[in-house]
Symmetry: C3
Subunit: 227 residues, 3 copies
């Protein structure tokens, strides 16, 4: 399966722009809020919004696909959407901070859209199937990791307790599986993926699903390595 | 305006190499000094000089334009200039540390040269106009952010008090505006941008212009999110 | 020498895949162990293994060469090798933690293979000779720096005491010198480089060779800058 060709029909499918524009807006909101809360100035807030929304796509396009400028800098609408998310956050900061839970819901919708979008762009960039799963997952989580690095938080992604990255991986695999076995049209596969990803993410939040550390204390002597 | 074509004359203009080589040298000095002060060895000092000088260009070329190797690794002069800045810093560390203020002046000259150079390279890489402003700004500030991340400082860029990034954005917009309305030749536009950027940066330092945090304490109940 | 053309024979040489696959496995092991010890979940451990093994190649291909997807996402074997290193680390964590010294030996073998591989890929990407040294060195050390940044350690690379990066630079220069003066076939040059790199790295560990800080206290007044 790793080397198989998808139908050109599936490979050429492009998710309508408004899905990824909407995901840029929701991820941009969460990034701008993070900057706001840390007391950054307008440059810092805009940069965090841009990185949270577009950072995953920049890593995917710049490091994995590497064949031309990403949409963030060729299609002005993406930077405008990020700017809009920044302005909305600055103007409406009090109400937005009150709806923290609603933002988790919006973010969960953006997650599925980014998974589908990232897989498709990766396929069109001629990545392998595991490469496309990686490309889709990075589209979902790369911006958040870059944001965490920039503000010097330890990336949440890695630590037990987060179910976020596994949902992203699952969404990418689900979408590719539907394309690969030609179970439905790419557009329907995209909608199903966004719906399933959203549902699982909501269940993970609601029931507090956790991943676990794999670390076991090594047997007493010799002493555990320090580092 | 966002989609308009610049005249091919403006789009093809190339700032003479010695501007960007000089900017590499001045930014390389500040990076090498940062490594020196932290007690790094020669590898660490060279890497910090290289990242501070070339990091913004690497992000611009690798992540935003993504169509071939950057000059840092195709034109040996750039690495040689970085090496020269490293050696100068190691040999002359006492006098260089005494001229901290002069370095802010030299850095302010490099700032405008990097803004013009970054905008031009972005235009030739077929970015949109907002994309070219982003590309120019990243050329100016990206290296410093990468340096801060590598040495684990919180990026100065984001925090209130810095007027640096806004001057960079302003320089890029000014330069693009002069090209767009065809106010003067690209070469004169470049010189004007470097001069204006330098003057504003000097004024910002002299009169200690500050940006501000936008964070307002949220109303008492419900409690502010912790995130 | 900086601009000279290597023979097309030397420029086209490709190190057999199993060298870089083996290096991915050994570097993947060290990355997975780092994640395991920090108590990360399976996503974090896999990501650290992937970044430690493939991060240097991603920086080289994405930021320095920038002309198409890296093998990590086009050839499924590389991600499978990383996954295997992750699984081996999880399953065999007790014995693996007992053989810390053996890992330093394996890592030193991977180092030379990565230096040769990185130089060759850089030459084929049309970098200058100093650019190829940089590309080879980044292949060796870039993944470790990315791992350190992700887990928020100060990169070991920079600090006095590490002889690692200099060995990598030396290996790249040695290999290029043998190609440039046509001293032997590229394949033999690769084997010699791997052997010499391994020997010097082992000697550096055995005799605890150290690099030193270049920082000298500046003369008393004026006070040293704080930044």
């Amino acid at each position: 399966m790793l080397q198989v060709e998808l139908s050109s029909h599936a490979r050429e499918f492009v998710l309508p722009d408004y899905f990824s524009l909407a995901a840029y807006f929701t991820f941009g909101l969460t990034g701008a809020l993070a900057g706001l809360r840390r007391g950054y100035d307008v440059v810092g807030i805009f940069v965090l919004a841009m990185i949270t929304a577009g950072g995953g796509g920049l890593i995917r396009d710049g490091l994995l696909i590497s064949s031309g400028p990403p949409v963030l800098v060729t299609d002005p609408r993406y930077l405008i959407v990020v700017l809009a998310a920044t302005v909305v956050t600055l103007v409406l900061q009090s109400p937005i901070q009150r709806i923290g839970k609603a933002i988790a819901v919006i973010d969960a919708l953006g997650l599925g859209a980014f998974a589908v979008h990232g897989v498709q762009v990766s396929l069109q960039g001629h990545l392998s199937l595991p490469g496309a799963v990686l490309g889709g997952t990075i589209t979902c989580v790369g911006g958040g990791v870059m944001r965490d690095i920039l503000v010097r938080d330890e990336p949440l992604l890695f630590k037990p307790g987060q179910f976020y990255a596994l949902v992203a991986v699952g969404g990418c695999v689900l979408y590719l599986a539907m394309l690969h076995w030609d179970l439905t049209s790419p557009y329907n596969a995209a909608l199903i993926t966004i719906g399933v990803t959203f549902a699982i993410r909501m269940l993970a939040i609601r029931f507090n699903w956790r991943t676990t550390s794999f670390y076991r204390e090594p047997p007493a002597p010799p002493p555990p390595p320090s580092g």
